[in-house]
């Protein structure tokens, strides 16, 4: 399969009055054409920062891409000039944000907000841009679009606004769509509709999607592959089935145990105790060690190396080491 996006050892820091925060600490992943990659983790794990860094949208200062590369069609996005980056935003890579209530400008009609994006990237007449906007609104399921173009955001419901935001992001036919918690602010029934819309649109346009979420329910519905982030690192990644049915990292297991499941009737939900480490001073070893039920002496001291379990499935955990396996076997 064709690689669309390749993130290599991305490191992002924020300078705050309390010191340097290492929000993203060496993240690598690939995105293939037409697939959906979910980046999962609890709030503050760096998943949003990662996605915004791909678009170079982190507020700078205080944010800074300290190291690493983001390769898109052979170009390293971190090295581009700001004006070159602008040509990519919205045209090649699009992004939608969590809250559809605030993502649209309240004083500009939604028609204008969609059309201005088209006009920015394509040499096209206003009429044709408008036609394109209409088609797109149709595609995302806005009824009576030619009338609705003239309306302001506050005249739409939350679900409708998210459809508009999606239309806005896709109108220039980008190859990558980054969706940062696209359903978190919506009602559960609307969530399902929006997720269906994602799948539908992906089928029609072949766009590759990165979906950022903390909601494993969302992941189960749409993701082809999953990357689990913790404290600024991807601790485990793999195909959806591999992550859901054969999780290797204790954190991934913890996440799965803390989600209600219909297929495991009566099983208790187990929350993960404690909270993530302070990224002002990240621990030398595995950041999850302090909360991990299997933690060994080594975990606090050295960060584990990456173990590949299959073509896609890899995990950063000392439990994969032969000596740990031996120790575990002897304990049993």
């Amino acid at each position: 399969m064709e690689k669309v996006l390749e993130v290599k050892d991305l490191q992002v820091t924020f300078t705050t009055y309390g010191g340097e925060v290492q929000a993203v600490r060496g993240v690598s992943f690939d995105l293939y054409k037409g697939e959906t990659l979910a980046i999962v983790g609890e709030s503050g794990c760096g998943k949003s920062v990662t996605s915004q860094s791909v678009m170079r949208l982190i507020p700078s200062p205080p944010g800074r891409i300290a190291d690493g590369a983001v390769l898109f069609k052979g170009k390293d996005l971190t090295k581009l000039k700001e004006s070159e980056m602008r040509d990519i935003r919205g045209a090649d890579i699009s992004m939608i944000f969590q809250d559809p209530m605030t993502a649209l400008n309240p004083t500009i009609t939604i028609g204008e907000q969609i059309i201005e994006g088209i006009m920015q990237h394509e040499s096209i007449s206003r009429q044709n841009a408008r036609k394109k906007a209409l088609e797109m609104l149709n595609l995302v399921g806005i009824p009576n679009p030619s009338e609705r173009l003239k309306h302001y955001p506050h005249q739409f419901s939350g679900g409708m606004r998210q459809r508009i935001v999606i239309a806005m992001a896709l109108v220039c036919e980008p190859e990558v769509l980054i969706a940062d918690e696209p359903t978190t602010a919506l009602d559960v029934t609307i969530q399902a509709q929006i997720l269906d819309l994602f799948k539908d649109i992906q089928k029609k346009t072949g766009v590759s999607i990165i979906i950022i979420t903390h909601d494993l329910g969302v992941v189960a519905q749409v993701a082809d592959r999953i990357a689990v982030m913790y404290a600024g690192k991807i601790v485990e990644a793999g195909e959806r089935r591999e992550i859901f049915y054969n999780p290797q990292h204790p954190y991934t297991k913890g996440l799965l145990n803390s989600v209600p499941r219909l297929d495991l009737d009566g099983a208790d939900l187990i929350p993960i105790g404690g909270s993530p480490p302070d990224l002002f001073a990240p621990p030398a070893g595995c950041p999850f060690a302090a909360r991990c039920g299997y933690a060994m002496e080594v975990c606090d001291r050295v960060y584990p190396y990456k173990t590949h379990l299959s073509r896609d499935h890899h995990v950063d955990c000392w439990l994969q080491d032969e000596r740990a396996q031996k120790m575990l076997a002897s304990v049993k």
Binding site: D278, E297, V298, Y305, A324
Partner: protein, 318 residues
Amino acid sequence: MELRKQHDNRNLAPDIPDDWFVPKAKDENEAEAVVRPSLSYWQDAWRRLLKNKLAMAGLFFLIALAFMAIFGPMISPHSVSQQSLTNQNLPPSSKYWFGTDELGRDVFARTWYGARISLFVGIVAAMIDFAIGVIYGGIAGYKGGRTDNAMMRVVEILYGLPYLLVVILISVVMGPGLFTIIFALSVTGWIGMARIVRGQVLQIKNYEFVLASKTFGTKTSRIIRKNLLPNTMGPIIVQMTLTVPSAIFAEAFLSFLGLGIQPPFASWGSMASDGLSTILSGHWWRLFFPAFFISLTMFSFNVLGDGLQDALDPKLRR
């Protein structure tokens, strides 16, 4: 399931002693200990304020000004109203630190005496605004519904009144004086505070901790005192730091119109106003000192107010 494993950095692993591969000694508190120490809202705000150099400078000036208002007239070797026909309009010197006025009175002593009046006017006006505004806005916001509607209709009408015109009118009617000024400033001054308090209360009263209190059957007055007021305090304090200088400004404005503090008393405003006409004859000190201290006070309150606003704004919390 049997999996074929590949280790990326296998060469790293042998360096690590085997005896590290034992279960870690359990420390129950460790998972929690990683968390940063949490600061209360006010501690956090205070810490942020301390970092704001400009706001701290403002606070420092205000303390210094208050100190001088209390002790200044005592430090001066001359009394406030002591006239001296032989020492008229003297420039600042070692004898008269800020010079003298046309009656030979010591401008230094009068400046600090004026500080008392000006600061008094500002602070009392702010306190009255606070008292009326909090009660009125608090009731309107808390009761909501029809009460709120009626009370806000009144505010809406009063809000349209031109503040300084009303102040002038009242001063003309009541005759100039300290009491008149404070009264006139308070008549419409509380409206801004009432609007702010109402807005805050409306917002906060629907928060869960207040609803929880209500379900326990807590009395209204107690909910207002214990739940609502502390949580609306931020914007109220900011508003007060801005009311004080605007009252001092208004007093100076009234003085300029001849409606301010009347002789033999003096405020910064009346001194500056008296000093205006003398500047062309070269007696710059008569305008400079009172005007400088008005400006310094305004500056200090404004930067302190700004600093407080930043420090108390929960949106900026990190």
